[in-house]
């Protein structure tokens, strides 16, 4: 399927979604609009109702243009150091995500190397790594933050640890697959050159694992972002997109929630696209992909 054949269907599905969205915001916001009209003892015609429901200050479902203008106002018209700025919160979430992602990726790679080189590690640790993912790890978030906070760590580190826990798993699984991807023939060839273990690792296994590496990086990045957002919830006051959504939900400011949600989506898309570009460039340089 070429890129072009996807374009038209995607655009039309998106258009339908936007139309439905406007429709739903009329339906969901109309009780409040009717209530206001009743108090002022006026009756609403349909066009009036529509324009009222699309311009409420605290709508149940804000329209796309309201969310867009909220995002525009809080990025362009605010100083980026201000707590009202979306850029400020996005930056905090971004740095937590990156910190956790780097920790998680390094842990994942180290674990994968240990698992590939040592059968005892593989059979005793691997089942636990898999079990760790059937456990809703995010439930640990408040506890990690309280425990590390009382041990004297606060700020980035506790949240980064939650991100790390979520992002190491795809990296371990992908890298174990990748490091084991060299064929028998290639391993034998290394042996005839009397290559040492580290040499086999650096010259054969690691280069061969690159395609797997980038795929798991994308998964790990998405997971790290979720970890950062959820980690911000119980930490309170630290800022970040999760914090902004929580405060929006506490004070009933729906526009804050929606703009936070969309910034998170944009951040995720940007990070994953970045890895995608990196993947294309590096794999092309290594001649692993045409």
């Amino acid at each position: 399927m070429s890129e072009k054949s996807k374009f038209f269907p995607v655009i039309s599905v998106l258009t339908v979604i936007v139309i439905l969205w406007y429709g739903f915001s009329v339906v969901l916001n109309s009780p409040w609009a009717f209530d206001q009209a009743k108090r002022n003892t006026i009756s609403l015609s349909f066009p009036e109702l529509v324009s009222k429901t699309w311009s409420q200050k605290r709508p149940k479902l804000p329209t796309p243009h309201q969310v867009a203008s909220e995002m525009w106002n809080t990025t362009v018209h605010q100083k980026i150091t201000s707590k009202r700025s979306l850029v400020y919160h996005t930056w905090i979430t971004f740095s937590e995500t990156m910190f956790g992602f780097l920790l998680g990726t390094s842990l994942g790679i180290l674990l994968a190397i240990a698992i590939v080189h040592n059968r005892a590690t593989a059979i005793s640790v691997m089942p636990w790594i898999i079990t760790s993912q059937t456990i809703p790890i995010l439930a640990l978030a408040p506890m990690i933050i309280v425990a590390l906070g009382s041990a004297g760590f606060s700020g980035l580190l506790p949240i980064a640890i939650i991100s790390m826990y979520l992002s190491f798993f795809p990296v371990v699984v992908g890298m174990v697959k990748g490091l084991r991807s060299p064929e028998r023939l290639e391993l034998d060839q290394m042996k005839t050159w009397s290559a040492s273990g580290p040499q086999v690792l650096i010259k054969l296994r690691l280069p061969k694992s690159m395609p797997f590496f980038f795929t798991s990086l994308k998964l790990g990045m998405a997971a790290a972002l979720v970890g950062a957002i959820v980690g911000e919830l119980p930490s309170g006051g630290g800022g970040g997109l999760g914090f902004r959504m929580l405060s929006g939900s506490t004070f009933g400011n729906t526009l804050h929630i929606w703009s936070g949600l969309f910034s998170a989506a944009l951040l995720a898309a940007a990070l994953i696209t970045f890895i995608g570009i990196l993947q294309k460039v590096i794999l092309k340089k290594m001649a692993l992909e045409l």
Partner: protein, 281 residues
Amino acid sequence: MIFFLLSLLFWLSAWCVNIWIARQDSKKSWKVLPPVLFGLSIVLIWEATIICFEVSPVILPPPSAIFLKFISSGPILWADFVQTVIKGALTGYLFGCISAVLLALVVDRVKFLERGLLPIGNFMAAMPIIGIAPILVMWYGYGWQSKSAVVTIMVFFPMLINTIQGMKMSDKIHSDLMLTYNASYSQNLLKLKLTTAMPFIFNGLKIGTTLALIGAIVAEFFGSPVRGMGFRISTEAARFSLDMVWAEITVAAISGSLFYGIVVLFERWITFWHPSQRGSA
């Protein structure tokens, strides 16, 4: 201190046993032993570290205290389990999975929708969908309904893309054969398309189990009645009674693993014909 050294000794000897087992030809009965030994030594070292270095229970309670709390607060844990897992996660999981499969059936018939929805579905599956939790809590209130809605949306997209992908797995030659049999649409669907899609559908179902629990627990951080696992975890953590938090996490871990295990059992039962299942038998 002696206890700590003993636990280290246990870990070392367990590790030696594991190395020895790793050298043997893998027989099935041996396979459970290494992870069990490894887990046991972690728990022992954990307990010993806390006793010997007098770690405050505010930072990390010992496993024994967690176990005692787990035993003594059974009714609370059960009520939380019912609220979060049965009412929140399970209903949302079923609803999300069923609606995703139904939409996938429609998408399979209309190729235009497939080309439009698949990229969007892939995009959404990578998004931090959990962020929708505060919105849904606001719409559906603090009860289990809002948690169920969060779970529905979270499991929907992975399930949708897996099912769509699975439906494409049937070979041309197979559909041709169905055509020569003069199979009706529903026969073709049931006997060929859905059957070949099963491994993919189960992949989506398995991914969904963890997402469902995460969704239900995290949604409770945004507001819940005075029971539920997420509620208990966040309030008890704020009160520094971490043994209760860990007991709750134990429940979450057990129910998560059980949930996953049940789906795997169903998978073995239904897709017994698939190479990945035959290999292990």
